[in-house]
């Protein structure tokens, strides 16, 4: 009797579950489909423009002669300098927070502040870089000003990644080192850091791959869109791949859109290589305790 009354409800409940599962799979499918469409869209428009000439020519008003040499060189400069600035500072701050900081209000502020900085829109960093590095320090619209701005932008990510890596180092290692008479810094330098390094490097590479795709802050500090020479010092004006892409995409002519797609192909390949490198590094060197 009562079992009969349950049966239809059970069927309905199961059907609701099935519908929901289909909905969930559709959601995932949507993301995958969008990624596929985006990649195909870019490849279809841009792949035929990617050639040796494209990589080694300076930008030009004539689409057939245009290339991304200055943008590639600018991005390389930018990456090297940003890494050079953000890596030591970020790792230093992480070591301070994980190994030195006392448990007091200042440390709490420091940690909250880093979490909040990670959520500040990148264009606000651009405004900061414009006021501080371009004008106050007088770096001008140079590679150095851009790299310093991007370094501040990725710093919270580097710090948080490095902290995670340091946290993963077991305490027994530190205690053993202290036990044989090492000082605090000797312990960190010779025991903790070597173990944490792969994790730190992976986090740094991932944050740099974010920096290499950043556009807005560099537009703010005045990276130029048309550069027909190679930057030779950190004080030179510069352009980078994302700005070149922005510039070409903003033009009305279809040929320039295709050039932008070509530059996107190059940028995505660079990003892919960096991410693959980070994952390899993680899998190869990471020790588990």
């Amino acid at each position: 009797m009562s079992a009969d009354r349950f049966r239809p409800a059970q069927a309905r409940r199961r059907r609701a579950g099935q519908i929901f599962q289909v909905l969930c799979v559709t959601s995932i499918g949507f993301s995958i489909a969008v990624l596929a469409i985006l990649l195909v869209d870019v490849a279809r428009d841009g792949l035929r423009w990617v050639s040796w000439d494209f990589l080694t020519h300076f930008p030009s008003r004539i689409p057939e002669r245009a290339g991304i040499k200055s943008a590639i060189l600018g991005s390389l400069w930018m990456m090297a300098l940003t890494a050079g600035i953000s890596f030591p500072i970020g790792v230093g701050a992480a070591i301070y927070l994980e190994e030195y900081s006392p448990r007091n209000w200042f440390t709490r502020i420091l940690q909250t502040n880093i979490a909040n900085l990670a959520g500040v829109p990148s264009i606000v960093y651009g405004i900061l870089g414009l006021a501080i590095f371009v004008r106050f320090f007088g770096f001008g619209r140079s590679v150095l000003a851009g790299a310093a701005t991007l370094a501040l932008l990725v710093l919270p990510v580097v710090i948080i990644a490095a902290q995670e890596a340091l946290k993963a180092v077991p305490n027994s290692l530190r205690e053993a080192s202290y036990g044989v008479g090492a000082t605090k810094w000797q312990t960190i330098r010779y025991q903790v850091l070597p173990v944490a390094l792969p994790g730190i490097l992976t986090g740094t590479i991932l944050s740099l791959s974010r920096a290499i795709g950043e556009t807005a802050p560099l537009i703010m500090i005045g990276a130029l869109t048309f550069i027909a020479f190679s930057p030779t010092s950190p004080m030179d004006p510069f352009t980078v791949l994302p700005i070149q892409i922005f510039n070409w995409t903003a033009k009305p002519q279809a040929e320039f859109h295709e050039l932008a797609a070509g530059a996107i192909v190059v940028l995505l390949i660079v990003l892919l290589v960096m991410n693959a490198g980070a994952i390899l590094l993680r899998n190869k060197f990471q020790k588990r305790f």
């Binding site: 599962q21 870019v42 501080i132």
Partner: protein, 325 residues
């Protein structure tokens, strides 16, 4: 973790000066002392590195506030906050930020219509339904989606999404809010999915088992037990996502246009706060003029809104988190 005092005290009291083998002890002590002096310098240097992040925040606030102060000496704050016309570059100047705010919120609302449902259902699928094998494939795909630079999404909006919208709604202009909102929504899906999934994963298995024990279906367990238990984390991820949409710049600059306007129509060209800042810095506006200072005033509003939302998100996570042992 040991503190500085615990570490240094044994060596400090270990070798008192005086006594017979004095020379050996002092030598050792001097060595110790120099090493400790170096230790202190290193600790100070590391502290300095940490301080830079605080200085960054101070720098942002000081720059935005001082430059905005110059702006607000000439434009009353009330006019800035309540004016419905924004035209600093025209001969008849108006400095009402509401049109820019309107554009920003339109993009944020539109993108959330996509990112919240898709992100949350993706998270539920990953956490409750997917086998480890499927997860191992889908998670990296979402990470790739999250790693694509925003300028690329801008290109995608202009060359794919906009033509599609114009096909469905003929007569739509090249620049429209819908195209910008759609790509911003897409780029935020991975963030909502991954943060919500973390929240869902934190719900202990025992809750699910109890619900299954009462005869609930997987759907009922997921939506009536797991999601409500993880609600604070899910809401926190939503707020972070909105904050991210508000700060998003390049895709919106490329796709949504440069027309500050009070509208709720997604098919019209609009301008967001971020797109306005980019427009000014690309132009020829001389430094130090009132027009130029607008970017700091707009930047200040943008910073306050995003900071408030980030703090709110952290607060929700902390205060309303159900703590399971």
């Amino acid at each position: 973790m040991q503190t500085e005092a615990e570490l240094t005290s044994p060596s400090g009291s270990g070798g008192p000066p005086g006594g017979a083998p004095r020379s050996a002890v002092t030598l050792d002590l001097r060595h110790r002392a120099s090493r400790r002096w170096g230790e202190r310098v290193i600790a100070l240097l590391l502290f300095g590195c940490g301080l830079i992040s605080v200085l960054t925040t101070v720098g942002i606030v000081v720059v935005l506030v001082t430059e905005s102060a110059g702006f607000f000496r000439e434009v009353p704050i009330a006019e800035f906050l309540t004016g419905t016309r924004w035209s600093p570059m025209y001969s008849e100047q108006h400095f009402g930020i509401l049109p820019l705010l309107n554009g920003t919120l339109l993009i944020a609302a539109g993108s959330m219509l996509i990112a919240l449902p898709v992100g949350l259902t993706s998270a539920i699928y990953l956490s409750e339904y997917a086998s480890p094998k499927v997860r191992a494939v889908i998670k990296p795909i979402l990470e790739v989606l999250a790693g694509i630079p925003t300028v690329v999404y801008g290109y995608f909006a202009l060359t794919f999404v906009t033509p599609f919208i114009r096909m469905v709604f003929p007569g739509t202009g090249i620049f429209n809010a819908a195209s910008g909102a759609i790509v911003v929504g897409i780029m935020i899906i991975p963030m909502v999915a991954s943060l919500s999934e973390d929240a869902l994963n934190a719900v202990p298995l025992s809750l699910r088992e109890a619900a299954y024990g009462l005869g609930a279906t997987k759907f009922e367990v997921s939506t009536r037990v797991v999601v409500p238990s993880a609600l604070s984390g899910i809401v926190a991820s939503f707020i972070l996502a909105i904050s991210r949409a508000i700060g998003e710049t390049m895709a919106v600059t490329l796709a949504a246009g440069a027309t500050p306007r009070m509208t709720l129509n997604f098919l019209e060209s609009i301008q967001t706060m971020t797109a306005y800042i980019v427009q000014v810095s690309l132009g020829e506006t001389p430094h130090g003029t009132l027009e130029y200072r607008t970017i700091f005033a707009v930047g200040l509003v943008l910073f306050i809104i995003t900071l408030a939302m980030n703090l709110l998100s952290q607060r929700i996570t902390r205060r309303f988190r159900e703590v399971y042992e």
